[in-house]
Subunit: 140 residues, 6 copies
Amino acid sequence: MNSTDRYQHGLDKLMEYTLTENKEISTHLKISDDLKDIAPDVAKFIIEFGYGDIYSRSGLTNKQRAQITIASLVTQGTEPQLELHINTGLTAGLTPVEIVESFIQLIPYTGFPRILNALAVAKRVFAQRGVSAVSAAKEQ
Amino acid sequence: MNSTDRYQHGLDKLMEYTLTENKEISTHLKISDDLKDIAPDVAKFIIEFGYGDIYSRSGLTNKQRAQITIASLVTQGTEPQLELHINTGLTAGLTPVEIVESFIQLIPYTGFPRILNALAVAKRVFAQRGVSAVSAAKEQ
Amino acid sequence: MNSTDRYQHGLDKLMEYTLTENKEISTHLKISDDLKDIAPDVAKFIIEFGYGDIYSRSGLTNKQRAQITIASLVTQGTEPQLELHINTGLTAGLTPVEIVESFIQLIPYTGFPRILNALAVAKRVFAQRGVSAVSAAKEQ
Amino acid sequence: MNSTDRYQHGLDKLMEYTLTENKEISTHLKISDDLKDIAPDVAKFIIEFGYGDIYSRSGLTNKQRAQITIASLVTQGTEPQLELHINTGLTAGLTPVEIVESFIQLIPYTGFPRILNALAVAKRVFAQRGVSAVSAAKEQ
Amino acid sequence: MNSTDRYQHGLDKLMEYTLTENKEISTHLKISDDLKDIAPDVAKFIIEFGYGDIYSRSGLTNKQRAQITIASLVTQGTEPQLELHINTGLTAGLTPVEIVESFIQLIPYTGFPRILNALAVAKRVFAQRGVSAVSAAKEQ
Amino acid sequence: MNSTDRYQHGLDKLMEYTLTENKEISTHLKISDDLKDIAPDVAKFIIEFGYGDIYSRSGLTNKQRAQITIASLVTQGTEPQLELHINTGLTAGLTPVEIVESFIQLIPYTGFPRILNALAVAKRVFAQRGVSAVSAAKEQ
């Protein structure tokens, strides 16, 4: 596959995780826009390598890839990216309950601080997307 | 639920992730055994809180909980626990391909070093359990 | 001990670290309040497991437990929790000097950046509680 | 070397990384100022040990020391210090391109999140110093 | 204070944490010995800055400094240094129970993996020093 | 650039960091060999993305890229990869003194434990390559 194909392949895959009417596509576009004056190649690598080479692999569903990514970002405590990937996770089909339960599952492995900070981010994203956070709590 | 119930509940849940004929149950028993002279309550907390309170929740499948746990442990680089949870993940129904692909999915979020170290652990576990690692590679 | 007892036990212990007239109890109440729409069980786990099972153990004083907790949070750089536990530490009897010296003790083990960030948090908390930060510096 | 000499030696070295007409010297002065009411000895240790004992060693150029420091801070994600050391790095002679390329070099070792956050910090510093970020991108 | 004084001051303080008949002094001597062909100044910095400037401060007892250090090392998972500082902690007056309880106190803040690995290190050190690990467990 | 070109480009760049008569090329070959039964695509990504896309960029010398990489790996404490990159760093032109001084430069930013562990790795690599560690110490 040549470079143009990888980029297009990555962009197609990225679209599966995003929708024009929702926030996260604009977030991804905003990332590209923020990078264009300082490091445009990093935006290209995210599309080509991240979405073209990695996310495009078979073997896992989009939902699984989003959930694994969220688990890593909660563990690292990198909140701007966690916010983005809670958004892409919801678009990929994770329910708010699955996202909240993913955080709770990590308490024995990271302790409470990382999870409290992740829940604060999720609460903000759920509110922005008009997802009922109460229903997430109810199903628990 | 009283403390005895939580412990039993946790133990029942732990059994779903382990099988007497396989390695990981002996690993969990070995953890309890190692702890009994120094910190037996920690073994109790793992069963009661970890498996009784957290793993027993609804909202995610055992497979999802195992996969999230593995993602966090790869990110942290805590290898003895990663070895254990690759084992419990396989028992919970994750395929070797799903485990290997979970690692690969994390490359853009943790970089290569954590993933190379995780793959070395997985290779050892797959060999111990007689899981064909070649088939994992083939499906990719 | 049944679940209600563990919760009550945890709440009693939490009260030892907090006082209604001070900020940190409202912080803990704020945590519970923030969680009630998204993950109320996490607030319950903090009380039951954190304060009921762990903080309630014998073998260390409240002051020691607060100081150990602060050392871990400085090392991790999780600032919202560090702010909370500087507050609970002060209520548990740690002096501002002991808190500042705890940070300084960690310089050889974490480097300066974590300590500078922790000192900025402590300075804010000391000001909020009307604790004289100057006296802390003097005693050094 | 006595303590006064080490402090003076450290201060001289620090001056090589800073210029009165630029922002970073005021940042270092601001650090000292912020610390003087809570932990003035930490400011002294940064000058004496950091700049007097470590930065003053032979074997590496100032530029190399700045670049190594930046690589560690990007990896740790401690942003206030990264901001300071992008400033001192520029004064020590690193070009904006060298700083941006240092971040990009770390993608395979830390993943994208740390690098995106570091680029956002760099973009802010470059703007504050009136360094053309476009030229940095062009040279890539 | 001149450099010779700081070194001697640091060495005196280090002696308070170690005893010739026990393992940890030889460990510290071994560190100096290991470093002498590759980076002898690092051994000097540990004595001068670590023990001379930091450990020699007033405001905390030796026991408190050892306990804080252990909490940070458990959190970081740097096991060779944890082994050393469990040894110096015991010499500084921490009981095995206080060390084990310090680990348990951190479970809510770091999760179980770091604590299990720390307990394995402590068990090894307790055995080497002929400290009864059973009594540690009993007092819990 | 198509995929075959990126791979070849990456392989050419990797060769600049390695020499058949030395250890590190066999280490890189060993990584590929270890991965071929479990995750051969990861070896491909290291060559294509790591060496083809990142290391092949202009703007920094090979020596700078090696030194930045080492600084990140010391900070993370991922020792197998640190061992490899001390090797590639030496081949890329870093002197043993520059490597040891890079570690020492990081003491104020990571604390001593990471540096002591890194020095132990470097000492082993220097011995394997027959590099005189004494001369490294002398220049300091």
